[in-house]
């Protein structure tokens, strides 16, 4: 699943500047995939046995060094392959990112209630013959070769892994050690290999500075994502985002736990400046809590709307380009169906940090009937800073109580030191809440 020649650079995402006012708070920041190094992003569009997969990676080295080897369940024809638009994936990332929202306390002296806020829920004409000949001699069959956009693509099948791996290495694909067993396993499961690398001539002719995502459409009863090859060359854990676009409802893994991250949590004000650190540490801690064996749900929502929006929902055109085949061309279906769920697309964003030890098996998925909306939403509440026309003793005390509660929650979620957190909180009136000194044994097992 993962590129074999890797680079440690993050995707550059477009910053969203719109701060729309919404019922669920004012949107301030998001935790997008650029927070994590070496992240792969995969969009899976699936209905019945039809699948369209879009693969984006954060490779930013020399284009001629890029290669990808992916197990695919069926033979792939030329028309089943496409080169997509990176901007759409960046948009999907932004739309589904965990978000930070803020509220400002109203004037505590005013009479309206300041109760708790509602919690809401490859074409090589000359070389081709030579390639085929060398392939046959090693028991490898080149079932097809295409040039699509800036990529040279081969569909390979083989009797045995050693021939295939030798052939790939001879032809400039650096296959990591230990790949034989995994490749054998996929061959045994009747899978083929989709091999792509950049055709530098085509790339300079087309004028792209970066690699565009590859898209493949196929029909198979396997609703899965092969991750085992990715664990071979990785230095440490791999970061993978799966965006599933389905018709019925949320997608979950059937062979690993799918866990919702803590959400709708109130955080101290200073987290606004450290949202990225907060999210990274919170994710790491939650992953540890699940013995590093869980897939995390970051977003599950009907594509027709959002609240608050980290970015606008994807347009009909963008969804079509991602391969959402059940939407009619030029919004035909949307016109016919004038109802709240006009888009008829449900998006699930899964985030998994994996390695061979904790994720021995490929990810197997199923679509559920669950259409309940879920988002990673983190809340900052700013205390009232205006003129006071009444006695604020009671209000100030309640704010201090809230600040202390937020500090403890934050420490609990991220594993940050509670004393450091308290240090950063401007407790109202400068009065630190009286806290009982922690007994020495309180944190020794952390």
């Amino acid at each position: 699943m993962k590129i074999f020649i890797t680079a440690v650079t993050a995707l550059v995402t477009v910053m969203v500047t719109t701060t729309a006012q919404a019922f669920c708070g004012f949107y301030v920041a998001k935790a997008d995939t650029s927070l994590f190094n070496q992240a792969s992003q995969v969009v899976l569009v699936r209905d019945d046995d039809r699948t369209v997969i879009t693969m984006a990676n954060d490779f930013e080295g020399e284009a001629r060094d890029f290669a990808v080897v992916i197990p695919v369940p069926t033979m792939i024809e030329r028309e089943q392959i496409n080169v997509g638009d990176r901007a759409i994936i960046e948009h999907l990332d932004a739309y589904t990112s965990p978000r930070l929202v803020e509220y400002h306390d109203g004037n505590p002296c005013a009479r309206y209630d300041r109760e708790e806020l509602m919690s809401m829920d490859a074409n090589l004409p000359a070389a081709a013959k030579e390639l085929k000949r060398s392939a046959r001699s090693q028991g490898v069959t080149i079932e097809a070769s295409y040039t699509v956009g800036e990529y040279d693509i081969l569909i390979l099948s083989a009797k045995q892994s050693d021939g295939l791996i030798r052939w790939l290495n001879d032809n400039g694909y650096k296959i990591p050690r230990g790949a034989e067993r995994v490749v054998d396993s996929y061959l045994g499961q009747d899978m083929r290999f989709f091999v792509a690398r950049v055709n530098v001539k085509e790339q300079s002719r087309l004028g792209y500075q970066y690699l565009r995502p590859l898209q493949v459409a196929y029909e198979s009863n396997k609703f899965m994502l092969p991750i085992r090859l990715g664990t071979l060359n990785a230095k440490g854990k791999q970061e993978l985002y799966v965006y599933a676009l389905t018709r019925t409802g949320r997608v979950e893994t059937t062979n690993y736990r799918t866990v919702k991250l803590p959400t709708d949590v109130e955080l101290p004000e200073f987290v606004e400046g450290e949202f990225a650190d907060f999210y990274r540490d919170m994710f790491a801690r939650q992953s540890e809590k699940e013995n590093e064996r869980a897939v995390f749900l970051e977003y599950a929502w009907d594509m027709a709307w959002c609240d608050p929006c980290a970015a606008d929902p994807l347009s009909h055109e963008e969804l079509r380009k991602l391969g959402v085949f059940w939407l009619g061309k030029n919004g035909q279906e949307a016109k016919r169906m004038i109802q709240p769920q006009a888009q008829n697309v449900f998006v699930t964003r899964l985030h998994v940090r994996y390695d061979a030890e904790h994720f021995p098996e490929d990810l197997m998925f199923q679509e559920t009937g669950d259409r309940q909306n879920y988002q990673g939403r983190y809340v900052i509440r700013h205390p009232w800073k205006g003129e006071a026309s009444c006695d604020l003793t009671q209000y100030d005390a309640s704010v201090r109580e809230r600040q202390e509660r937020e500090a403890q929650l934050l420490a609990n979620m991220t594993g940050w030191d509670i004393a450091d957190i308290r240090e950063k909180i401007p407790f109202t009136g400068g009065i630190r809440p009286v806290t009982v000194k922690e007994p020495w044994w309180k944190r020794i097992w952390d």
Binding site: N221, T253, T258, V259, P360
Partner: protein, 278 residues
């Protein structure tokens, strides 16, 4: 005497274990089980059991089996539609009264309800991955389940199923030259163990003869493997059980055995079912 006969009835243990599992699922693993569904399932099951008892003139109303069925359904069935949460136990319990061969119901009630709803609706599903694969958790489940089984004294189906399914998984791994961590991971599935210890083990819907139960367990394992690893569909065991269930009367006709009665040990049971010797 009454107390002794109660202790001999393994269903009390089953209810205790299923309730424990349900609590773990709700409070520790945060499954997303809706309490409304749980209430709807339990009440509907009892209501249908009561109606069935009256209609079919059974000597007394027995709430225990219906309670076990509703706990299994609560653990396994996921839906956001309350109508489906009501339909599930209605299908389950009524199947016991309606689909019978030689005085014995054919389908495991919870199993028939799950499969019917999954086939008919997009809004019912089983979250087989939600138990996670923490080894200790799996071990705990197995032990608890085994306790129930030894009381039920009819463990052959479960043992045959797990042995054959395990053998097939390890065999597949060897054939594909996969690391053994893969079949181990596949076996550490909470939903699989619940199926093996609490669904396929149901003495009422498994063959009367011990050999028959072993054959049946092995058959379900083979079918489950085909569904899960050749057709790549989730919920292989649950689908395999419903496909195999109609063979139980056939196995019973071929192999002599004793029909199980709750609260009676095999020796006490008087209802001998004479099989046809071939």
């Amino acid at each position: 005497m009454k107390l002794i006969s109660r202790l001999a009835d393994p269903r009390y243990y089953q209810v205790a274990v299923l309730t424990t599992l349900l609590s773990i699922g709700v409070f520790v693993l945060d499954f997303g089980i809706r309490w409304q569904n749980a209430v709807a399932i339990i009440l509907t099951a009892q209501a249908v059991q009561f109606i069935g008892t009256r209609l079919y003139g059974l000597p007394r109303f027995d709430p225990m089996s219906a309670l076990i069925t509703s706990l299994s359904l609560t653990l396994l069935l996921r839906t956001e539609l309350i109508a489906l949460a009501i339909a599930a136990p209605a299908i389950a319990i009524s199947s016991k009264f309606l689909i019978r061969v030689k005085g014995k119901h054919v389908f495991n009630p919870a199993n028939v309800a799950l499969v019917t709803l999954m086939l008919l609706s997009d809004h019912a599903w089983v979250s087989s991955g939600q138990w996670g694969s923490a080894a200790i958790g799996a071990f705990g489940l197995a032990c608890l389940g085994f306790l129930v089984l030894t009381r039920a004294r009819r463990a052959e189906t479960t043992i045959a199923f797990l042995a054959c399914y395990g053998a097939l998984l390890f065999g597949r791994a060897l054939w594909l030259s996969d690391p053994m961590s893969i079949p181990v991971h596949q076996l550490q599935n909470g939903a699989l163990l619940i199926f093996a210890f609490f669904m396929i083990s149901d003495p009422k819907t498994t063959p009367n003869a011990a050999v028959g139960r072993m054959v049946f367990g092995a058959l379900v394992a083979a079918l489950a493997f085909v569904i899960q690893f050749i057709y790549y569909q989730p919920n292989g065991p649950i689908l395999a059980l419903i496909l195999s269930a109609p063979l139980v009367p056939v196995i019973d006709a071929l192999l002599q055995g004793t029909h199980y009665r709750w609260g009676k040990s095999d020796a006490q049971s008087s209802a001998h079912v004479k099989g046809v010797q071939t």
